[in-house]
Amino acid sequence: MPEVKTAPPHPASLIEIKDVHFAYDERPILRGLSLSVRKGEVLAVMGGSGSGKTTLLGLIGGRILPNRGDILVDGQNVPKLDRSALYALRTRFGMLFQFGALFTDLSVYDNVAFPYREQTNLPESVIRDLVLLKLQAVGLRGAAGLMPSQLSGGMARRVALARAVALDPMLMLYDEPFTGLDPISTGIVARLIRRLNDAFGLTSLVVTHDLDASLKIADRVIVLAEGKVYRDLTPSDVRTTSDAFVRQFADGLPDGPVPFHYPAPPLLDQLLGKAGTASVEGGTP
């Protein structure tokens, strides 16, 4: 699936993340993360499970607050915004959730119409045209009357995409957009992410661990590890790098810098009863 890459992105950055620390309870997730996202680019954020990828989206969207650090989106410091300023900023975001997060009590049409009805005063006749255009862009105008339960995973993802771009956002956030999709649907969604980004002049942040799909569409790939940006690469770098961690990730090797085994006392000690057995007996390890 050859994809047309955009010209080198404009150097101005839309998102500027500076020295962000974040911990769930006592468990540190981000430890001094700094990152900038340039206007117009598609940035893929990769990393193992628990590396803080999804947390990063929550922080940018202002759904969670960092322990310290600044998150500037279009010049506004997200953690410092009050509710109304945050909501005003969010109307310029589009977010695609892992499984689409369509409203199950609304039809496909009403799901896409939702942002217009909530955020604008447009008459229904105009909303109808806009909804049909957005659905046409994702190829699902014919599915307007269906309910989310009648859609396949890939279709649901595309409807959610149409809903996310409804208000012509400046920034698109994608949380694992390829999870659970077959190869064809993955290709369709990946191509849509790129096409929507270029057609509407968006900036896209794609959190994923689907390497193949993201290498096809991303301008830049960032690998998170230990709560920081571990590597900042172009897609072609990812294919050729000799970095052990990135290689393990790219080639899907079970053991390497990311160990196969969860930390545990030596097996022999545990079998002979010398080590604690709390983790075996279901206590918290």
Binding site: R63, F93, M95, F97, F99, A101, F103, T104, F114, P115
Partner: protein
């Protein structure tokens, strides 16, 4: 010794967790109150929830009310005739229903029928990121999802309690007058004379209004804070029914003491 200390620690933890949850529920209640105008202004949001919580509970409420009324009539007649005052059956049944059974049984049934459904629905919306998605679309989920469901519970509860009592009185009429053969006129006139509008009917309505607030708040709170797993949603649903039922019975005692104090002394 260490066992005793562990037990006390456990007790302390349970109490502190309970208090923290109560505080969270209080803040959640305030957050709902801040946006309670939304479902009033956008009436269609409220109508939908009134349909799902209120109208869909009609059948169980009316049928239960009728059976409770019929049983009250049989039991009441049995006792009253010993004192030769079986004509007062109407007033006995009406007072039992309007003061106590109407509001209380309606609230218990409502918690099981509508409260559990609301908890499960909101819990699943939370688990499937629908609430997060709405929040990211700059639409306040408390205003759009929570407050209409809460308000629907507050509005439907007194109405359902009235219907419960009405159905109960009708059931008692069928059994007492049509079946047992108590005098038609004395059944109704005793009821008319013995039931006070303010003391009995208004107090009954106040009770069910309070129950509506309690059950509605518990249902949306448990759903909103349900852990986003199958187990989390199912135990939240159970907690809604158990907590609502206990809350209703305890509130009923407090309200009864407060409303009918000084009547007998």
């Amino acid at each position: 010794m260490s066992n005793v200390i562990e037990m006390i620690e456990g007790l302390g933890r349970t109490v502190l967790n309970g208090l923290a949850r109560l505080g969270l529920a209080g803040r959640f209640f305030l957050a709902i109150m801040m946006v309670i105008g939304v479902p009033v202004r956008r009436f269609s949001l409220l109508v939908r929830e009134l349909y799902f919580s209120g109208v869909r509970s009609l059948l169980i409420i009316v049928v239960s009310g009728m059976f409770v009324g019929m049983v009250l009539a049989i039991q009441g007649y049995e006792v009253l005739q010993r004192f030769g005052s079986s004509e007062t059956l109407g007033v006995l049944v009406a007072l039992s229903l309007v003061r106590e059974l109407g509001p209380v049984v309606t609230a218990l049934l409502f918690a099981g029928r509508a409260g559990s459904a609301v908890t499960a629905e909101i819990g699943l919306m939370q688990a499937t990121d629908q609430i997060a998605a709405m929040d990211m679309m700059a639409v306040n989920p408390i205003a759009r999802i929570i407050s209409p469901r809460f308000l629907a519970s507050v509005v439907s509860m007194p109405l359902l309690a009235c219907l419960f009592s009405t159905a109960g009185v009708f059931g008692a009429y069928l059994v007492g007058v049509k079946l047992i053969g108590i005098d038609d006129g004395s059944f109704w006139s005793q009821m008319q004379a013995g039931v006070d509008f303010r003391l009995d009917i208004i107090n009954g309505l106040i009770k069910s209004l309070v129950f509506g607030v309690a059950v509605g708040l518990i249902a949306v709170f448990e759903g909103y804070y349900a852990p986003p797993t199958a187990e989390g949603v199912s135990s939240a649903t159970t907690r809604t029914v158990v907590t609502s039922s206990l809350a209703v019975l305890m509130l009923d005692f407090v309200l009864t003491v407060w409303m009918f104090r000084g009547l007998n002394g």
